[in-house]
Symmetry: C2
């Protein structure tokens, strides 16, 4: 087996059932250079320990996943969410500092769905903008980029009221590009008739915080959250999307983040190796730039 | 129980397990004035008989559902699809002529998904435009309006490569508005950040062939095709969407089309009555115009 692409980063969700130690170990063992972490397994061992484990792994840190969920109206739940987002910002900064050279302090934000009983999608979206306005000074102070992630419209009601990259960019536009960017995830935006022009715009505006790849295949899993696949196993045209991202000058790591029961049931080292193989076949041929290896 | 809204039309799919005779009977019995039919139950009795049954029912005919499915490249399958679409155009014209005064000769078109093994979404969309170009002269000659229906992006790969109303309008723009319009279905487009401006545009360009309502609720059904609900049972804001449609001057019938195993298992008369009640509560308050009753 060839060495994995030096720009590949394994998002920890791809091997969800591995604890942090295992995730770091198998990622490094597979020859992958970078990892994106999730808050829960980090908190399980504690931030300080997690940072130290990350340093020892020699891996670059690419993103911290994930925070957000701030569509609710003002009140204690909204305050708790903002406070928790501030904790996540600190976590992202700490982990990025602990990762190998080339690590990036990026916190992925998922907006959240419609509040219970509400039909006011427009209002929920405005509250996303408001929350980011509250968090931006903290992120700036910590040197963290908030990466607002549009999610596929099938999640618009219960998970994320931000459904297109264009919409994420419209929200980000109110803020400094070093502080608020967007997550460009192929699974969520591949269907969008404006996807290529939105990627071009995101690049022009300096907003591509992270590029993430996984594939779309039908029939969808019964739980549509778990319907993500290895790159190449579905119908997404990684050539045109990756070309568009690369054309903006994006030259950082690219995460593969897969939620899939079957992949989660796979031995995590094998899952990482398969991810690397899918990436090499479907994404690597379209990369213009490579990190120093 | 109050009389159903005079602008309500029952799309036959809502009571899928009823044959044509039953569908016509329960719709009329519930006091509903209009119906949209599906090709299969019409073909089951034969077009001439179906037309005669429709005339006898006294109901208006609103749409014929559905045709399209022409994303495949040139070849026998594409020729068969175009030929079948021509048959559907004739059916729509015949049924509209057989329905009560105020009937509309509208054929709903669903584009189709990516051809097997293809990742070329852009090409598939262009083939939709090409097919409509072939069919438009037949539709014009028959006095039928082709109502291209954007489907929710969760169906983009396997059912419909046209995912937004704006995209449908871009395709329709090549053709006479009397011949090619769009289906505006709340379930498919409610999440779109551009939905209100796209409806305004559709009205301005004379392209709202039919307005259809049903609701969105999570969790989605395991088969996402069957996840449609009675108006009012989910999270769609029928106020803003219906206001936008009405503001364009749309004053025709409004269909409720629901695919839902539980509703299909309901006695069809009761399902029609519940549909009428949901419509009265969620949609009627936002209607400016009423058909003569």
């Amino acid at each position: 087996m060839n060495a994995p692409d030096p720009r590949l980063s394994i998002n920890q969700a791809t091997i969800k059932h591995a604890d942090l130690a295992t995730a770091l170990r198998v990622t490094a063992e597979a020859g992958v250079r970078a990892i994106g972490l999730w808050r829960e397994p980090v908190q399980e061992v504690g931030l300080r320990t997690a940072a130290s484990m990350l340093t020892d792994s020699g891996l670059r840190f690419t993103t911290h996943c994930r925070s957000g969920f701030f569509t609710m109206p003002e009140g204690p739940a909204r305050r708790a969410s903002v406070d928790d987002n501030r904790v996540a910002i600190e976590e992202a900064a700490t982990l990025a500092a602990a990762g190998a050279e080339g690590s990036t302090a990026i916190l992925v934000l998922v907006a959240g769905g419609l509040p219970e009983g509400s039909r006011d999608l427009v209002g929920a979206r405005e509250r996303v903008r408001d929350a980011i306005g509250e968090l931006a000074p903290d992120a700036a102070a910590a040197g963290v980029t908030l990466a607002l992630e549009p999610l596929h419209p099938m999640y618009a009601s219960d998970r994320c009221v931000v459904s297109t990259l264009g919409q994420a960019l419209d929200i980000a536009a109110d803020f400094d590009a070093a502080v608020v960017g967007a997550t460009v995830d192929t699974f969520h935006i591949w269907w969008d008739p404006d996807v290529l022009s939105s990627i071009e715009r995101a690049g022009r505006e300096g907003r591509i915080a992270t590029y993430q790849v996984c594939d779309w295949k039908t029939p969808l899993a019964a739980d549509p959250l778990l319907s993500r696949h290895y790159p190449g196993d579905g119908v997404i045209d990684f050539a045109s999307l990756t070309d568009a991202v690369e054309a903006t000058g994006y030259d950082r790591d690219i995460e593969v983040e897969i939620f899939n029961e079957e992949i989660w049931a796979t031995d995590p080292l094998i899952a990482v190796q398969r991810t690397a193989a899918g990436f090499a076949a479907s994404v690597s041929p379209h990369l213009r730039t490579r990190v120093a290896s």
